[in-house]
């Protein structure tokens, strides 16, 4: 079946991750037309109803979008956290890094 996705809402990265995660279940063809991406999903094994396909895909897609928001908003603090945890010097100073 075909699902139309608004690329203003879901980024390429988000859709790619979703498609990857479902790549055992669906063969996928993607086509971009302006800001709308058409995604054709063909079950690789057996029958999956259109309704289930859509539900599965959109639920995953929304989860990847939530992850993307968290990742983007926390990118800097994550870098600081890892630098503090693993840098080989004791006196790493956040105020100076900011």
């Amino acid at each position: 079946m075909k699902i139309l996705i608004d690329r203003n809402i879901y980024s390429d990265e988000c859709i790619s991750k979703c498609v990857y995660s479902l790549s055992e279940v669906f063969q996928c063809n993607r086509q971009l037309d302006g800001n709308t991406e058409s995604i054709e999903l063909i079950p690789t094994n057996g029958f999956i109803s259109d309704e289930d396909t859509k539900r599965l895909f959109l639920q995953k897609l929304n989860d990847f979008k939530l992850r993307q928001i968290v990742a983007e908003e926390t990118k800097d603090i994550r870098t600081i956290l890892y630098a503090k945890a693993f840098a080989d010097y004791e006196d790493f100073n956040i105020e100076e890094a900011e």
């Binding site: 995660s21 990742a71 603090i77 994550r78 503090k84």
Partner: protein, 467 residues
């Protein structure tokens, strides 16, 4: 009105109609459906849930959390195994074996086979290399084939290690992986003298163990060997491991009961792995599905035993629970990121070559040397920091692998480039079709689902396992 707070990095999954949030150190929170969206939309109320999210580093009221240093120290502690570097050193003393296991993962050869036993020279150079590792505690593990067929070589290796240990001041633990079929007094004397732990293989009750060994009397001999070893060394010095053969998949309860009957306090429910002769098992997908089912049945039985007052634990779950519920890292090489290979384990093969892991040398027995890192005669730096290891290092952290990097379970799971290579043809691997991923995910999710759905019943039991 929107609340003012800042997100901190976390991932999530959905289990049993709840949302499971996992932060960077593997702390888990179970929250009602819809919470993630509310967190992101700044729609939280200032209630207990909000306070827990702040206290557990999922959100912060300040741009930089005041306790960031504490959080960073906890993250460092979770990856402490990286500071220690290679702690486990496996010495494949020989491929000769006196058994004929149906799933043999070590590609063993007949007892009389020649040219498959380590020389003294290789043993000595391997010990030298082991002591170049900076780990404060070294484990020297003898494997085979059946290493106890060569007690003199093992004594030689331990004596060399003891010489180094006395001048170097580090702790060395010795482990003998043996089928216990022919534990001679000579071998047990060595074990006694140097406090060598015995790790043996027992697949369950007699009918199953014997069927897996292709013998009719193997079970009796192993039990006699375990008894002899316990008498000589003490119960706590003898442990056993099982491997779930295809036939074993049908006997979860019997396997657990056998271990409990023999006085063991725990059991590691271990799946077959696709190396060595074991890769001849035709349908891995079917096996994996059945193993997950087997694991759950055996686990339920273990919980039942605990409810009846028998203290008995499952080792894979202990590793996951330790990652989930304690601040500490675990030393289990199969569930580490960066991967256990090289970082936590090196293998010195009988033929004088060094491999990245036990599974790597099993691949080599099939003629594939992808994970041969060098020779025991090479410089340590060339072996562990050489080009091969640098290439592997590009893809040995699940934080940076497609599929894993977005997986909420990554704090509990691990990266396994060797398994990816042997089952999927490349070290990077493809998570959606990986059977190892499928198995790990199913078991970790099952353990989480128990905590979510049967908290009162299981958490007190789990806590006793972590003592």
């Amino acid at each position: 009105m929107k609340m003012q707070y800042h997100l901190l990095p976390f991932d999530f999954t959905r289990i049993a109609d709840t949302e499971i949030l996992v932060n960077e150190v593997g702390d888990m929170m179970v929250v009602p459906e819809g919470t993630i969206q509310r967190i992101i939309d700044r729609q939280m109320e200032k209630d207990d849930l909000y306070k827990s999210l702040v206290a557990n580093f999922f959100i912060s009221e300040e741009l930089v959390p005041p306790l960031l240093d504490v959080y960073a120290a906890r993250l460092r502690e979770k990856k402490r195994f990286m500071d220690y570097f290679t702690a486990l050193h496996i010495f494949v003393v020989t491929l000769q074996c006196n058994q004929n296991c149906v799933y043999c993962q070590a590609s063993s050869r007949k007892e009389q086979s020649e040219h498959c036993t380590m020389s003294n020279e290789v043993m000595e150079c391997s010990v030298e290399l082991m002591f170049r590792s900076p780990a404060p505690v070294l484990t020297m593990e003898f494997q085979g084939g059946e290493p106890s067929l060569h007690p003199k070589l093992i004594r030689f290796g331990i004596e060399k290690a003891e010489e180094k240990r006395l001048s170097d001041g580090r702790e060395v633990r010795y482990v003998l992986c043996t089928n216990c079929v022919n534990l001679t007094d000579e071998m047990l004397d060595i074990c006694k003298q140097y406090h060598v732990m015995i790790s043996t293989s027992l697949d369950g009750p007699a009918f199953l163990h014997n069927a897996n060994r292709g013998k009719t009397d193997s079970y009796e001999k192993v039990i006699a060997g375990i008894e002899k070893a316990r008498k000589a060394l003490g119960n706590e010095q003898v442990s056993a491991l099982m491997t779930t053969s295809v036939q074993g998949l049908n006997h979860p309860v019997e396997i657990v009961d056998e271990y409990a009957k023999l006085g063991f306090k725990s059991l590691f429910l271990r799946a077959l792995n696709p190396y060595g002769l074991a890769s001849d098992n035709p349908d891995w997908e079917d096996y994996t599905r059945k193993f997950i089912d087997f694991y759950k049945k055996a686990f339920e039985h273990i919980l039942e035993l605990n409810k009846q007052g028998v203290h008995f634990a499952e080792e894979f779950a202990i590793i996951i629970l330790r990652k989930m519920l304690t601040p500490f890292s675990t030393g289990f090489v199969d569930l580490q990121s960066p991967a256990g290979i090289v970082n936590s384990v090196l293998v010195y093969n009988y033929d004088g070559y060094v491999y990245a892991s036990d599974e790597s040398r099993m691949l080599a027995e099939k003629g594939d040397y992808a994970f041969r890192l060098g020779s025991v005669f090479d410089r340590y730096e060339d072996v562990v920091y050489g080009n091969k290891v640098r290439d592997i290092a590009e893809i040995w952290a699940n934080e940076s692998l497609a599929g894993c990097s977005d997986c909420a379970l990554k704090a509990y799971c691990g990266a396994d480039p060797v398994r990816n290579y042997s089952t999927q043809g490349d070290m990077y691997g493809h998570r959606p079709s990986s059977l190892l991923c499928k198995k790990n995910k199913a078991i970790i999710e099952y353990i989480i689902s128990l905590i979510v759905e049967r908290k009162e019943e299981v958490v007190p039991i789990f806590k006793t396992w972590l003592l």
